[in-house]
């Protein structure tokens, strides 16, 4: 299965992936409409490294082969689909954040309303169909491929 992989030496820390992620999962039809509303959305990808730092890289769900979040979820809200994508069922999630407690990558976070968790599903759960962060990364600092 294709996953997102990081080339950290090429990441400038521009945070474009975070905005593209927010947009992809916002349901908005134009990205500029995020203006003034970015506090309503939380990106499912996070760029590490503060401005001015030499090192930057983006982190999102690794879709682990042996996903500890799926095993730990108290609600059965996290599951792996036939392809291997780790998904979250918002109707089942109760927002206990056990997944946040166990994810070794820090790749699951509370949704904006704080009542459920959210995570990357490789844009298979929105209109984009494939990772919007990768599509718009100017430097190939994240790629979507088989490894």
């Amino acid at each position: 299965m294709k996953r997102i992989y990081v080339n950290e030496e090429w990441c400038l820390g521009c945070h474009l992936c975070e905005y593209e992620c927010m947009f992809a999962n916002s349901g908005l039809d134009e990205m500029f409409k995020l203006k003034g509303r970015t506090n309503e959305f939380i990106p499912r990808i996070k760029v590490e490294g503060e401005d001015g730092n030499d090192i930057h890289f983006a982190v999102n769900c690794r879709h682990c082969t042996n996903a500890i979040c799926v095993k730990s979820c108290i609600a059965g809200a996290l599951s792996k689909d036939g392809e291997g994508v780790v998904r979250i069922d918002r109707d089942k999630c109760v927002g206990c954040f056990t997944c946040v407690l166990v994810c070794p990558f820090g790749a699951i976070m509370p949704a904006p309303d704080g009542k459920a968790a959210q995570k990357c599903a490789l844009c298979t759960d929105n209109i984009m169909g494939e990772p919007n962060c990768v599509k718009h990364c100017p430097n190939n600092a994240i790629v979507f491929e088989e490894r």
Binding site: R62, I74, G95, C96, L101, G106, P110
Partner: protein
């Protein structure tokens, strides 16, 4: 191969998935005392709270058992294991033969002897779907509720019912709430949040006696009138099936790292089992839902002829009360690094050059990075701990470690 599983909660589900993950062939029979397909027990408080609908409480899709070739005997309990004949005898007298058996019988509420308790009408435990449904049937805006026990179960119950009743009082013998996961100051943060919402606490106290639906407290002699009593003092592991069959039982059913009991071809997992806790280096019951899954899954793999060991179990908990979230892991020993301000309470515990525990209240983003350091017993000189101290991040790891985490399949 005939697999039999006693119990039908998380460890049982994980066992079924473990058996099938290594292409274990053969029928699986599940003995389920409860008449429901598996559901996450901790969801009962969220259901009362309105956070999850009753129909969404299934832990697995409705075709789970059928897809996995498992037959569930609903409403049946196991009375006896005969390890010589390798059969389980049920309450209706039926004998089920097994080649490999999992005991995942969980725990039951512990109700201490309290004078006059028999005379209390409307008293409940809070562990199962039926407990929840029975309690829910009594909730109304004019009811006063008394909860005995300020632990995880008692307080999640409080959260679930608070908006649906007139008042909630909580009594506990301990000097703080959530004594199993929090220190004094951390507990005070959570208690304050609950008190602001109207919960009344009576700590370092106990109900000395009941006269009808009136409780008399031991210290101070206060009397509390109530309409509904919830007893959530603690739980006891269900170990009798194994001890009566001659298997080794301490507090829980003793298992090795592969979840074998001392009885041949009998495994145990979940809240009834006493397995290896890597944070203390000794066996103990870790009655936590994720641990039930880990153990059950490992049992299933081994039952089906695979090899799996549970070597990195640690206590860990994520629990929320309204907007206050508490994430904890490991043990609270060694050097303490604390960050406490407003409603944030963060403590990291460092011992022998490793992170061994943490308490995170209202500052928990990416906590799993800390948890992985504890589980992996990662020496802190391999990471930039000054960076990690402020917040969990992968930047604190070496370039090579980051590459392994982010640039290859995991």
């Amino acid at each position: 191969m005939k697999y039999v599983i006693i119990g039908n909660s998380i460890a049982a589900t994980a066992c079924i998935e473990g058996i099938r993950s290594v292409n274990g062939k053969g029928g699986i029979t599940v003995v389920s005392a409860e008449k429901y397909p598996v559901y996450g027990r901790p969801l009962i408080s969220y259901c009362l709270l309105g956070r999850v609908k009753r129909e969404n409480m299934g832990y697995r899709p409705s075709d789970f058992y059928q897809k996995n070739g498992a037959e569930v005997l609903y409403g049946r309990t196991a009375e006896k294991i005969d390890p010589e004949k390798k059969v389980v005898i049920l309450d209706d007298g039926a004998e089920i033969a097994y080649d490999k058996l999992l005991v995942s019988t969980g725990s039951r509420p512990f109700v201490p002897p309290m004078q006059g308790l028999d005379g209390v009408s409307k008293k409940f435990s809070f562990m199962t779907m039926d407990d929840m449904l029975a309690l829910e049937g009594e909730l109304s805006a004019d009811k006063r509720v008394l909860v005995i026990g300020a632990g995880l179960i008692g307080l999640k119950c409080v959260e679930g019912i608070l908006a649906r009743v007139k008042s909630v009082s909580v009594v506990d013998m301990a000097d703080r709430i959530l004594p199993s996961i929090l220190d004094n100051d951390g507990a005070a943060v959570v208690q304050r949040g609950l008190e602001e919402r109207g919960v009344e606490f009576f700590l370092s106290n106990s109900a000395e006696k009941f006269e009808g639906n009136v409780a008399y407290l031991k210290n101070g002699g206060k009397k509390i009138e109530f309409d509904i009593l919830v007893v959530a003092v603690g739980v006891r592991p269900n170990t009798a099936l194994v001890s009566e069959a001659g298997g080794e039982v301490n507090r829980g059913i003793v298992v090795d790292k592969g979840m074998h009991t001392s009885l041949k071809d009998v495994y145990a997992a979940g809240d009834c089992a006493e397995g290896f806790d890597s944070s203390t280096g000794s066996n103990r019951i870790l009655a936590l839902l994720p641990n039930a899954y880990f153990q059950g899954n490992i049992a299933g793999v081994n039952m089906a002829g695979g090899i799996a060991l549970h070597t990195d179990a640690i206590p860990m908990n994520a629990i929320g009360f309204f907007d206050t979230h508490v994430l904890t892991a490991g043990v609270y020993e060694g050097e303490v690094i604390a960050d406490v301000h407003d409603n944030v309470y963060k403590k990291l515990f460092i011992k022998d050059g490793c992170l061994v525990g943490f308490i995170l209240i209202n500052d928990f983003l990416r906590a799993g990075i800390y948890t992985s350091l504890i589980r992996g017993k990662t020496p802190l000189d391999e990471v930039d701990f000054a960076l990690l101290e402020r917040e969990p991040r992968l930047l604190a790891f070496s370039k090579q470690a980051r590459k392994e985490k982010l640039a290859q399949r995991v």
